[in-house]
């Protein structure tokens, strides 16, 4: 250590010495960092320059390599210089000194500490510091912070620099060359580097592309080209150029191959041609002097892109139904053929699907074959993908594949099972949707809120249902009971959501109320759909439970018969068998609804389990007699279970039979009533014709009123001009428009019922509403079309009003003969009305017993009863026309009720059939979807048709997709009558927007 004579305080001397050591440490670190930086940089540049020169690294990859090299250099430098930023720490220096100087160990740090935090006797510390200071002077700085590592680093750096210089001399690229590569197109693999030297100058480059025939691309000329060729392989490129001076000979060099002849015209105009074969370069050579090189960039003909459209990742499909898979394939230049790859375990086979004529660029459609036709047996689970081969005649045809879809192929039984599972899954998904709908306020769209946001949320609640239906569309027959139920729900859903989407922030209260009404109807339909599916599942579960219990009882009976001779192991085996059956029964019971049957099965199951356990314990303990007694009890319990279940089913059947009988009885009564009413109406008309002289005019007038009223309704519904005029209409205007329609419908009903008083009231209301609209239209639109619309309606209204007034004035009492004839019929009419009233009560009772709603049943009978009573009153007062009208309305009400009842009967029957698995399309029965060619023969072989997939147009096979579309999207067909007006309003709103 250097002496510091002017510093006498030993502690200060120590401090100074340690600080010097710290400075040395930092200086050494800096030197090492520089050496490492220089050395690493030189080494990296040498390696990069060499590899680039050798072509081991593509210039295209140069940026990446440079990045990596740069990162490596930074890391090395950071590592070397990690001590540079460290603050001066005398304690750390003291520790390092103590490590190398044994005689200072344990003392230097003490002095440093006591200097910083005085403690103990200052005199003692001072003495110790003096001693330490003296010893510290003897410590060599190089011993604490040796300079050798820095020297080594510097030597390495020097070596690296020498290596770099050497490499450069040997052909490695220098830093500038490397950087220049970044600005240049990458050298091409396999291309010899053209040595630097004089270049022939060319200009006016023109490229003419002659594409391969299969691409069906027109020839393309590119004047003033930069020389780069971009074309698919196989393309012939005709090159023409001009040179700066005249040459005597020209050749074309492409892909580094032998020069191709080039035509030289006038010494300066050159023409040549090459065929694109891949990535490379081309150049011209004039009398051995090369032109600059130009890139050849092939545009590869990629394999076709194929996708499966809209299908889930796995589908279950009936063996004989078309696969519910739609594909879409496209290719750059053309498609040659389509095929299906079927992977079953390790076995893979490819079945041709379609051979495409004229190599279209796009092809799509449904896989038209059934699983059976594709040679996939029922019960198999395969992975299937669709492939498309392109028409590449140069590189060879390439096949592109879709993602694979797992296909489970179901036979009739498997299909029935899967369908039942699907029903359950759909039911559960619907229940999840219901959970959200049932808790919503009504209307769901709050005042001031837009309806579309709610509609989106509401629609999303059906995502799981939609996915299930899409995935297994082939399992759901559109015309089946389930299909009808879901279709009806789909209609209500679409109408609700479509209407809700029309609600703007300033939507009228009335519109929100309409949405609330639709919301309630949709909720009812959703609940009905769930209950219908659930009822099918319940009935099916009951069947399955009964079958299982029967098997259990048979097993138990066999057990009882052999109980005295069974060995222990045999008994245990039989108990195991019973246990397995019970587990199946437990699983089945779990899917039943809560109720006495479920409790019954649970209780009996628990008892059987306990008994079986007791038998096992007895057997294990060697108590043979006891185990036999318990096995007998077990058999008795199973017998009792079977008996009770049978009784229960019989009682349930009786109950259903009673409901069926009540429905049949009601249907008979309604038909009799309808027939009686029709007869009575004929008699009324006959009496009127016979005794009602002078009524012909009234009859004709009523018929006119009826016709005009119908026209008025239609005009109110179809009046485009009026709707357009009111697209920005206030609530009052739209309300008036709605009133016209409603009142016109009422007027039509009154005309049919020949109800003069009501008809007059309604025609007045129609007139008032039309008057309001006409005034508003004149103010707002002044449009002749609107005026014409309204004028047409006003004319009809006016005509009706006149006719009704005429009838009122001409109203005369019926002749005494007619009055007598009518009064004679009045009592009969009243009896019919009373019967209709009783039928209304029966209808109400029946409706409460039905598992599904029967719309029209109660309404129809109620209307029949009311109109029947009015007909009776009209007959009593001798009003033949009104009586006839009311009689007709009575008949219509009865017919509506009959239709509703028949539909309910059909629903119940379908529900039972669905639960029993009828109509599942068993092979050979001609039912269900499919069962076309390719049926297995008696040996289980496929007939030849199965493999010979001759493919007609895909449109022929769109049933599942059409069904799916109909369920999920379409509102193409008719909607319930009550929604038509709302539909119209929806489209009006669309027009406004």
């Amino acid at each position: 250590m250097s002496n510091l004579p002017h510093v006498t305080d030993p502690t200060l001397r120590i401090q100074a010495a340690l600080e010097r050591l710290a400075r040395r440490e930092r200086a050494l670190a800096a030197a090492r960092t520089v050496a490492v930086g220089v050395g690493a940089g030189a080494a990296l540049l040498a390696v990069l320059g060499w590899t680039l020169a050798r072509g081991w690294v593509s210039p295209a990859a140069l940026p990446a390599w440079l990045s990596m090299a740069g990162a490596a250099w930074v890391l090395a430098v950071l590592d070397a210089g990690r001590d540079l930023g460290r603050p001066v720490d005398v304690r750390a220096q003291a520790r390092q000194v103590e490590r190398v100087a044994d005689d200072l160990r344990g003392t230097l740090l003490v002095v440093v500490d006591r200097t910083e935090r005085p403690l103990g006797s200052p005199a003692l510390v001072a003495r110790l510091a003096a001693r330490v200071s003296a010893r510290l002077d003897a410590v060599a700085p190089d011993g604490v912070h040796p300079g050798r590592p820095v020297r080594v680093a510097a030597a390495c750096a020097l070596l690296a620099v020498v290596a770099w210089v050497g490499a450069h001399a040997g052909g490695a690229l220098g830093p500038r060359a490397i950087l220049s590569l970044l600005d240049r197109p990458a050298p091409v693999l396999g291309e010899t580097v053209v040595p630097d030297g004089p270049r022939a100058v060319v200009g006016d480059l023109e490229l003419r592309y002659l594409y391969p025939t299969y691409t069906r691309l027109e020839p393309l000329t590119v004047p003033n080209s930069n020389g780069e060729i971009h074309a698919p392989p196989g393309t012939r490129v005709e090159i023409s150029a001009r040179t700066a001076r005249s040459w005597t000979r020209a050749t074309l060099v492409a892909y580094g191959a032998s020069p191709l002849p080039a035509e030289l015209v006038d010494g300066r105009r050159v023409r040549g041609a090459l065929v694109v074969a891949g990535e490379g370069q081309w150049r011209l050579e004039f009398d051995g002097v090369p032109s600059p090189s130009y890139r050849i960039v092939p545009e590869p003909d990629l394999a076709p892109d194929v996708s499966i459209v809209g299908a889930a990742r796995s589908v279950a499909v009936a063996e004989d139904a078309p696969l519910p898979l739609r594909y879409a394939a496209r290719d750059d230049y053309g498609l040659r053929a389509l095929q299906v790859e079927i992977r079953e375990g390790d076995k893979v086979r490819v079945v041709p699907l379609r051979t495409l004529l004229d190599a279209p660029r796009e092809a799509g459609g449904a896989v038209p074959s059934s699983a059976r036709e594709l040679g996939i047996a029922a019960g198999s689970v395969v992975r299937l993908r669709v492939g498309a081969a392109d028409n590449d005649e140069v590189s060879g045809s390439k096949v592109g594949w879709s993602a694979a879809v797992e296909v489970e192929v179901l036979g009739p039984r498997g299909r029935a099972t899967r369908r039942m599972r699907l029903r359950q899954e759909i039911r559960d998904a619907l229940v999840d949707a219901l959970a959200a709908f049932v808790l919503e306020p009504s209307p769901a769209v709050a005042p001031g809120a837009r309806g579309d946001a709610w509609a989106e949320r509401a629609d999303a609640r059906y995502d799981a249902v939609d996915a299930l239906i899409a995935g297994d569309a082939s399992l759901l027959d559109r015309e089946s009971f389930d299909g009808r139920v879901l279709r009806r729900l789909g209609e209500h859903r679409r109408v609700l959501l479509a209407t809700a989407r029309t609600l703007g922030e300033r939507a009228a209260e009335r519109d929100r109320a309409d949405v609330a009404t639709l919301q309630a109807q949709h909720l009812d339909t959703l609940e009905d759909a769930i209950l219908a599916l659930d009822e099918i599942l319940r009935m099916a579960s009951l069947e399955a439970v009964a079958e299982l219990v029967q098997r259990l009882a048979e097993e138990a009976s066999a057990l009882r018969e052999r109980v005295d001779t069974l060995s222990g192991p045999e008994a245990l085996a039989r108990l195991d068998q019973l246990g397995r059956l019970f587990r199946q029964l437990d699983a089945r019971a779990a899917s039943l609804d809560e109720g006495t049957l479920k409790e019954f099965l649970a209780e009996r199951g628990a008892q059987a389990h306990a008994l079986m356990e007791a038998v096992r314990q007895s057997l294990a303990a060697g108590r043979t007699d006891e185990s036999r007694e318990l096995m007998r009890r077990l058999a008795d319990a199973m017998d009792a279970m079977r008996r009770d279940l049978r009784e229960m089913q019989s009682r349930g059947g009786e109950s259903r039979d009673k409901t069926s009988a009540a429905m049949q009885e009601l249907a008979t009564e309604l038909k009799e009533l309808a027939a009686g009413q029709a007869q009575l109406r004929s008699r009324t008309e006959a009496a009127r014709e016979r005794f009602g002289g002078g009524m012909d005019e009234a009859v004709a007038a009523w018929e006119q009123v009826e016709t005009l009223a119908r026209e008025l309704v239609e005009a109110a519904l179809r009046s485009e001009g009026t709707r357009a005029a009111f697209r920005d209409a206030s609530y009052a205007n739209r309300s008036a428009l709605e009133d016209v329609r409603t009142e016109a419908e009422g007027l039509h009903d009154s005309a049919r019922a020949r109800d003069l008083a009501t008809a007059r009231t309604r025609v007045r209301r129609v007139g008032d509403a039309l008057g309001w609209l006409a005034r508003r239209a004149r103010l707002q639109a002044g449009d002749s079309g609107v005026a014409s619309d309204l004028r047409g309606m006003e004319t009809r209204t006016s005509r009706i009003r006149d006719l009704l007034e005429t009838m009122t004035r001409a109203r005369t009492r019926a002749s005494p003969e007619l009055q007598r004839a009518l009064q004679e019929m009045a009592a009969e009419q009243e009896r019919l009305a009373e019967r209709a009233a009783k039928a209304t009560e029966s209808a109400s009772r029946v409706a409460k017993k039905l598992p599904m709603d029967a719309p029209g049943l109660e309404d129809g009978t109620r209307r029949a009863a009311e109109q029947g009573a009015q007909a009776g009153e009209a007959l009593r007062t001798g009003d033949a026309l009104r009586a006839g009208g009311a009689q007709r309305a009575t008949e219509e009400g009865l017919q509506e009720a009959i239709a509703a009842l028949q539909q309910a009967q059909k629903d119940m029957q379908d529900m039972r059939q669905a639960a029993q698995g009828e109509g599942e399309g068993t092979p050979g029965d001609g039912k269900g979807a499919g069962d076309r060619k390719g049926r297995r023969d008696g040996n289980g072989d496929e007939d030849s048709d199965a493999e010979d997939v001759a493919l007609p147009a895909p449109e022929t096979f769109q049933t599942p997709e059409a069904y799916r579309k109909a369920l999920l999207e379409g509102m193409q067909g008719d909607v319930p009558e009550e929604y038509k007006a709302l539909n119209r309003r929806y489209y009006e709103e669309l027009v406004r927007q």
Binding site: D432, L611, P851
Partner: protein, 528 residues
């Protein structure tokens, strides 16, 4: 109550079938007297005369009938077969023989247990769980109720527990359809009590009260020489049936209160004359239930007016030939009209449940209809649909939505369904609203006390709250209706054990074991 129409139906039907034609025959001497004793429901008298020696066909008939009344079915069958064979043209005898034969079949495999004054015949197996409580109920009825009626007949109380509805129907001699439509589950006839095991009904029924009810018929028939009209018999039986377990008259069942309140308001009470010859001939089950409520309150009123001996005195007067209404009024110290008026005044003084409540249907055997035994939902598929939707939602963890559906299954114009209340409570519990669930269940129990599901659900909630003593009450009530519910028996065993009631805990644990094994555990080493 379900069984209350039993006697009335039987008196209307069985008597006509079995006994109607016989009194006209010229049976001579002591045998004829003995047969007359049986008609007066006096088996002891018939036995005495039989023991004194009878002869001829009448004697054989008396011996056969006495054997039948004493539940010695094999002896009765042998004698009846011989009699019928000796009188091949006698259709009545053939019918009686067939009935005895059917009874033998129905009682096949029965064993007898006797304790003090009670004999119980039952099929070994699960029905063993009924025997102890059957004995206790009848002994209590014998000791507590019979004295109120003037004493019990000097014969053992013989009871048969029929394990199935079919066996009961066969033994009762009633047409199966009549039993199923009227819901008859028990019968007091031939000096015996015939009762269907609660196992034969999906959710059980209050079988102990029913047993006491039938026992009262037995006593009343004996005390009145079988002269009491149906309305008086049913009035006494219905009003006294619960006294085996308590000392005071219990309040009327809420359903009965509801019927009475509405009938009073509309002045639509059923006249006594319309109750003859059987309640079963009334227009509807609801009208029959109203009639039962009327006569029951009438007897309660009589006791209130004339004291504890009133019923016994009335029966004595009836036995002595008095008209039943006059006898009742006489004991009350009034004229018949005045008595009826005072009874109506008594009814108006009661605070009756005014709300309309449905009567639970009686369903023999388990039902595949999940709501077949619910008083409301059994006849309302539309409401049952909402209940099912609630169940489906709850099963998929949508408790709030389930609650909404359950509430849609309740309408203001319909009585609250106990099933729905129990399910609603489950949903509330899932939502953590336990107190609300508890309150709803307690309300429902007050309205439908005989619905075990509500009791069980309530008891489980109470246990969860640590209110084991309250829970015990409801489990006990559930077991009184359906003793075959193994979970209830387990809970009773646990709760009695926790309450330090070791004997009761052991009893219910034993019942649980019996239910598990289908009977008492076999003795080690025993063979069949």
């Amino acid at each position: 109550m379900k069984n209350s129409s039993a006697s009335s139906v039987l008196r209307g039907l069985a008597a006509a079938v079995l006994l109607g034609a016989l009194p006209g025959r010229a049976w001579a001497g002591a045998a004829e007297d003995g047969l007359a004793c049986l008609e007066r429901a006096d088996l002891a008298c018939a036995e005495r005369l039989l023991a004194g020696g009878v002869r001829g066909a009448a004697g054989e008939l008396l011996a056969a009938r006495v054997a039948f009344h004493r539940a010695d079915f094999e002896d009765a069958r042998t004698r009846m077969k011989a009699l019928a064979a000796a009188h091949p043209g006698d259709k009545d005898l053939a019918a009686e023989r067939d009935h005895v034969e059917a009874t033998v079949g129905a009682a096949e495999g029965f064993v007898v247990e006797r304790r003090r004054d009670v004999e119980v015949r039952y099929l070994p197996g699960m029905d063993r769980v009924l025997v102890d409580e059957c004995m206790e109920t009848l002994q209590a009825a014998h000791d507590r109720i019979a004295p109120l009626l003037g004493g019990a007949p000097p014969i053992p109380v013989r009871v048969e527990l029929y394990p199935t509805a079919d066996r009961f129907i066969a033994a009762s001699g009633l047409p199966a359809e009549a039993v199923r439509t009227t819901g008859v589950v028990a019968l007091s006839k031939w000096d015996r009590l015939l009762i269907t095991s609660p196992r034969a009904l999906g959710r059980g029924y209050p079988w102990r009260d029913t047993l006491a009810h039938e026992y009262i018929h037995l006593v009343v028939a004996w005390r009145s020489a079988d002269k009491a009209p149906v309305w008086l018999q049913e009035g006494i039986a219905r009003s006294h049936e619960a006294l085996w377990a308590r000392t005071d008259f219990p309040p009327l069942a809420p359903t009965a209160q509801s019927l009475l309140a509405r009938a009073l308001a509309k002045n639509a009470l059923v006249p006594l004359a319309r109750m003859h010859p059987s309640m079963a001939y009334l227009d509807s089950a609801e009208e029959a239930a109203l009639a039962f409520a009327q006569v029951s309150t009438m007897i309660e009123h009589l006791r209130g007016v004339a004291g504890v001996r009133a019923v016994a005195d009335t029966l004595t007067r009836v036995r002595d030939g008095a008209d039943a209404l006059e006898a009742v009024a006489g004991v009350a110290g009034r004229t018949p009209d005045a008595f009826l008026e005072s009874w109506k005044g008594y009814l108006r003084g009661l605070s009756l449940v005014a709300r309309q409540l449905a009567v639970a249907p009686t369903v023999l055997g388990a039902s595949d209809d999940p709501f077949g035994e619910d008083p409301v939902l059994s006849s309302r598929a539309d409401l049952a649909g909402h209940a099912r939707l609630g169940d489906l939602l709850l099963a998929r963890k949508h408790a709030e939505a389930a609650l909404a559906e359950y509430r849609k299954a309740m309408t203001p114009d319909e009585p609250p369904s106990p099933t729905i209340v129990a399910r609603e409570a489950e949903a509330l519990r899932a939502l953590g609203r336990r107190d609300e669930a508890l309150a709803r269940l307690q309300d429902s129990v007050a309205v439908y006390p005989e619905f075990p599901l509500t009791r069980k659900t309530l008891a489980a909630l109470l246990v969860a709250q640590g209110r084991t003593r309250d829970a015990l009450v409801h489990y006990r009530a559930a077991a009184d209706v359906n003793p075959f519910d193994a979970t209830v028996q387990s809970a009773l065993a646990d709760l009695h054990g926790a309450a330090g009631q070791a004997e009761l805990a052991a009893r219910h644990a034993q019942y649980r074991r019996i239910l598990d094994l289908g009977g008492e555990p076999p003795t080690h080493g025993a063979s069949r």
